[in-house]
């Protein structure tokens, strides 16, 4: 889900005072410590993706909101 859609869905659910911050890019190398991603999978991504894309697969964000 994109940040824009996440924000929209939070509003649709009824949340207010929504904040999305603390953006941290996650690339292939950042996934390596997680055993859920075996090395052959990560190696395949390194081969298949551009270096730029391999450095930024997704972005971790902090999402805060309040129920009125």
């Amino acid at each position: 889900m994109s940040e824009r859609v996440f924000d929209k869905q939070l509003k649709k659910a009824g949340f207010r005072d929504i904040e999305i911050f603390g953006h941290q890019p996650y690339g292939v190398d950042d996934l390596a410590p997680y055993p859920l991603f075996p090395e052959p999978f990560l190696d395949a991504l390194r081969r298949l993706l551009s270096p730029e894309r391999a450095r930024n697969l997704a972005t971790a964000v902090v999402i805060r909101a309040r129920k009125p």
Partner: protein, 199 residues
């Protein structure tokens, strides 16, 4: 805690089961979490000092929701997708003896680990670890002060439903503090990989 909301339709259940099977297999097959280097990167030293080794070893999150949740003494905190319990334990330290933490996870093996780690951290008496899914949270309407989650909402094929459930269980004035991935697009190599979906 006995009220389970609304039934899901069969198509959603099939998709959820498919993803849950992939995640279940992935989480059951690993021998540890991301471990201390990741925890020391994401958490404050004061937080790390409160954690037993097992909770550190089994950490699999992508951020630090408790740091951003402003948890107060006496509150009820729901940790959606609690995994090995790292964020539940940190929240339990903040709510104190008069508060309560509900750790929710779909995987029994992770719940067993979370219970053991909460015991090791000395907060088991204020933690309850429940089996369930984020699309049908086994908690009463308006029963939670703070809902936290760490890298879990992205696993759901029904994120709108998850957000509606979080809204339902929060009290009026209740807060949400989620750390998760957002993406504008993903390459097909990732979108078509079961391994990527499991993480």
């Amino acid at each position: 805690m006995s009220e389970v909301p609304r039934a899901l339709d069969s198509r959603d259940l099939m998709r959820q089961q498919e993803i849950r099977d992939v995640a279940d297999q992935a989480y059951s097959s690993i021998a540890t979490g991301a471990g201390r280097p990741m925890v020391e990167h994401l958490y404050d030293p004061e937080q790390v000092a409160l954690l037993p080794a097992g909770a550190i070893n089994w950490a699999l999150g992508v951020g630090n929701p408790v740091r951003n949740a402003e948890v107060r003494a006496g509150e009820t905190v729901l940790d959606v997708g609690c995994g090995g319990g790292i964020d539940s334990i940190l929240a339990a330290k903040l709510v104190g003896a008069s508060g309560r933490v509900i750790g929710l996870d779909a995987l029994d093996i992770m719940l067993e680990r979370a219970r053991a780690h909460a015991e090791d951290a000395g907060v088991a008496n204020r933690c309850e670890f429940l089996a369930g899914t984020m699309e049908a949270i086994p908690a009463l309407d308006g029963s939670v002060d703070v809902a936290i989650s760490n890298g879990v909402v992205n696993l759901s094929p029904r994120k709108t439903r998850v957000l509606a459930e979080l809204w339902r269980v929060l009290k009026p004035g209740g807060r949400l503090a989620v750390v998760d991935f957002v993406v504008d697009d993903l390459p097909p190599e990732v979108l078509t990989s079961d391994t990527a979906w499991a993480g």
